[in-house]
């Protein structure tokens, strides 16, 4: 399941729902991305997240489908926020469930690595030096490419 929304999300409620009544699940891995008050050595007071409506949901669903081809996942959830966010705010939640922990960990990290490089979101930060678009990181490309090794 994939959601793009302005509202915050409740991690506890989301993962409880994801695994509800499924006694075949032995492992749940989850990741929460958060707004930091510091990026590239500059203090960040606010961030806005823009996306490409329609393509975003398709890209996220495709990433989840790829993860399902690689690992035996019971369920997967991706929630990504858009709009204006402040330091300590939640940005993204990825949660995956499986019978065993390796599948849950690997699929969760895989989805995050692909989301970072394939899903059409863009961050703009407000810093003391003014507003700036966040640059893509080479380390994110490297992280994605290791899944093809």
């Amino acid at each position: 399941m994939v959601r793009v929304q302005n509202e915050d999300f409740d991690v506890g409620a989301e993962i409880a729902e994801l695994r509800r009544d499924n006694a075949r699940i032995g492992a749940l891995a989850c990741f929460v991305g958060l707004v930091r008050d510091l990026n590239e050595d500059d203090s960040v007071s606010e961030m806005s997240l823009e996306h490409y409506p329609g393509m975003t949901e398709k890209a996220l669903a495709e990433i989840v489908a790829q993860a399902r081809l690689r690992w035996e996942i019971a369920d997967a959830l991706v929630i990504h926020r858009i709009g204006t966010l402040k330091p300590t705010d939640q940005i993204v939640l990825v949660a995956t469930t499986s019978a065993h922990r390796h599948e849950a960990f690997a699929s969760c990290e895989f989805i995050m690595d692909y989301l970072k490089t394939q899903a059409p979101f863009w961050k703009k930060e407000q810093t003391a030096q003014g507003a700036r678009w966040v640059d893509a990181r080479e380390s994110d490309d490297t992280a994605r490419q290791r899944w093809n090794a």
Partner: protein, 84 residues
């Protein structure tokens, strides 16, 4: 006609988020389309200069310079993504 969409830094530089465009019939792939857009000069020439990291999606799927497009397609131009 095709629909062109611009996101993030490109949207701000071009001053528009979308447009309907009618490139000449011989312009049939993304490489040629980018060349045609560059000929508008100014921000177009600058932001779409060869070597600049511009990403293109045709009908919401990632494309390369060799990807063809057709009448009615939705073509989006944007910088490398930075979500998550």
């Amino acid at each position: 006609m095709i629909t062109l969409l611009y996101f993030a830094r490109l949207r701000e530089s071009f001053g528009i988020s979308s447009e309907q465009a009618a490139p000449p019939a011989e312009i049939a792939d993304i490489g040629a389309l980018l060349e045609w857009l560059r000929s508008r000069g100014d921000a177009w020439q600058n932001e779409l200069a060869p070597g600049k990291p511009v990403r293109v999606a045709v009908n919401q799927a990632m494309a390369t310079n060799a990807t063809p497009f057709a009448e009615g397609d939705e073509i989006a131009l944007f910088p490398p993504v930075t979500g998550g």
